[in-house]
């Protein structure tokens, strides 16, 4: 890795008017400058920091553009389309007010949902990593367990919900079990794949150093399989949210899925849509948290 130069370089900024008739038909919009390195001849100079800020701003604008377009489309559909006074498409301000009014209830729902999601996902991740690495790094365990995994993993976890509710004493335990099943297989399969994909050079180095047994799995197989494991965890977390909300539709008395179902039953669509948007936001935050962890843990992986 080349260390970043600590010297602040300066760039020359030459204002360029939009010119649709240029050779490539390129219009440098929405930043009306073109950056050129070199000695200052004309125009103002911008240090590197503002240049980076401008680039970030542009990226932010691009990232928000589709959200903005969707919001406008929603607004038009709710306010101006001749759909009559359709309660199924509540206008954005109505949903926003419903969201603000429901925040305490949604927060309580979030805590309830997370009290199912966190233990289910944590158990699934731990069990998936431990068993996946064991099976992936032992031919005998692979011969014994992979045929079972091939049959059991493709079963859609949602079909376990009625049975889990029937056999486990509380709804919470049933829901934790279903989340566990949903998240376990992706983590397990990716941990197995990660252990299988262990490069020969790492195996050789471990053998040269006399690493074997638990030490070999902990110090070599586990870190080398982490890129696969995190990919499995991301899929598992997505499944966990789906299964959690589906399970809550069945028999919960609190939680995010329950919130949406409850207000749909009363045809309170502004609250229902607010619940959907809030759930989306929570899911995105959880996925971003996992992605942050992944980047921290895999700093060495290029």
């Amino acid at each position: 890795m080349t260390p970043t130069a600590s010297v602040t370089r300066e760039v020359q900024v030459t204002p360029v008017p939009p010119d649709p008739s240029n050779a490539q038909g390129f219009v440098p919009w929405p930043v009306p400058f073109r950056f050129a390195r070199g000695p200052a001849s004309a125009g103002t100079t911008l240090p590197r920091q503002p240049q980076r800020l401008l680039r970030r701003l542009l990226r932010l604008l691009e990232g928000c553009s589709v959200f903005a377009a969707l919001l406008v489309a929603w607004f038009i559909a709710a306010e101006y389309l001749p759909l009559g006074d359709n309660p199924l498409i509540p206008a954005p301000p109505l949903v926003l007010r419903a969201l603000i009014d429901s925040l305490p209830e949604l927060w309580a729902g979030t805590l309830s949902s997370f009290s199912i999601l966190v233990p289910g996902f944590a158990l699934a991740t731990t069990a998936g990593i431990v068993s996946g690495l064991a099976v992936g790094s032992s031919r005998h365990l692979a011969n014994a367990f992979l045929p079972v995994a091939k049959v059991a993993a493709p079963v859609p976890p949602t079909v376990y919900i009625p049975y889990a509710i029937a056999i486990l004493p509380t709804f919470k335990l049933s829901a934790i079990f279903v989340v566990f099943i949903g998240a376990f297989w992706p983590v397990f399969q990716n941990a197995v794949a990660g252990a299988h994909a262990l490069e020969q050079r790492y195996r050789d180095n471990a053998a040269i150093l006399g690493l074997s047994g638990f030490e070999y799995r902990w110090r070599v197989v586990f870190p080398a399989a982490l890129p696969h494991i995190f990919a499995g965890m991301a899929v598992g977390l997505g499944f966990s949210f789906i299964l959690l909300t589906v399970a809550e539709l069945f028999g919960a008395n609190a939680g995010l899925g329950r919130f949406v179902q409850y207000y749909a039953d009363f045809a309170d669509y502004p609250r229902m849509v607010a619940g959907i948007l809030y759930t989306g936001l929570v899911t995105w935050l959880a996925m971003s948290g996992l992605d942050f962890l992944r980047r921290r843990a895999l700093f060495w992986h290029q």
Partner: protein, 262 residues
């Protein structure tokens, strides 16, 4: 009587049914520095893997100090061309693993200080807390040498360790390796695989040339230049040039024979 050193007798190796090595007979006394040369595909690296115990032989015996080689052992350290260090561990932690293996009773702080001592020995004290991805190719190979030294193996197997380096770094690391080898008491036995004839002659006490298809020893030449060699003087000497020519001709003749056979 126990024979000190490495002994290979009637060693054969085949991938499935394809023969790679045939009838390898070698005696390498302890403390000798051997350069292993040969055309690409002659099985030099395979032979090194067999000696390391990373792969079992198809036929024949390998012995180190009289004991049969059946698998990897701390007695035999290996330095590969690249990627020797684990990228998820810092340089010092990479070396500390080897220290811990060489001295299982040592404390965590003891291992760390011993690892730092080895890093200083190869001029890598500035990179103690860094990760392999933050180092240049030459620095990574210094780390690999430090790890091999930390293991304390009396036999060192090196598979083109400087093959990916630029000429300046390559020369520096060759000198470092010689300095470390010459200063150690007792001297380590080194088997050094390389494509570079100059490198093999500059470093080694002896060069072994493998012929191709299947790999077999076609020449075993002593390199009698006095130790504490001066690179420039040696490379310009007539005796060096004569030996170099001889080795190059042997390898070229083998390559030509393979082309005709094909």
């Amino acid at each position: 009587m126990m024979v000190q050193g490495l002994s290979l007798s009637e060693v054969e190796f085949a991938y499935d049914t394809v023969p790679i090595l045939r009838g390898i007979e070698l005696e390498i006394p302890g403390g000798q520095f051997v350069g292993l040369l040969g055309a690409s595909g002659s099985g030099k690296s395979t032979l090194l893997r067999l000696i390391a115990g990373l792969q079992p032989v198809s036929k024949g015996h390998l012995r180190w100090n009289g004991e049969r080689i059946c698998g990897p052992s701390l007695e035999r350290g290996v330095v590969f061309q690249d990627y020797a260090l684990f990228p998820w561990l810092s340089v010092v932690d990479n070396i500390a693993i080897a220290v811990g293996k060489a001295d299982p009773g040592s404390s965590k702080t003891g291992r760390r200080s011993e690892a730092i001592r080895h890093l200083k020995r190869v001029g890598l004290e500035s990179a103690v807390g860094k990760y392999p991805s933050e180092l240049s190719g030459g620095m990574r190979q210094r780390g690999a040498i430090a790890r091999a030294l930390a293991l304390g193996s009396p036999l060192l197997l090196m598979d083109e360790p400087f093959g990916a380096l630029d000429p300046v770094n390559r020369a520096r690391l060759q000198d470092l390796l010689l300095e470390v080898w010459e200063s150690a008491k007792p001297r380590k036995t080194i088997v050094f695989v390389t494509h570079d004839i100059d490198e093999a002659l500059y470093l080694g006490d002896r060069v072994i040339i493998l012929g191709s298809c299947p790999g077999q020893v076609i020449a075993d030449l002593p390199v009698d230049f006095a130790r504490h060699r001066d690179r420039r003087q040696l490379l310009e000497s007539r005796s060096f040039h004569a030996l170099r020519e001889r080795v190059a001709e042997t390898i070229a003749a083998d390559t030509l024979q393979q082309l005709i056979a094909a």
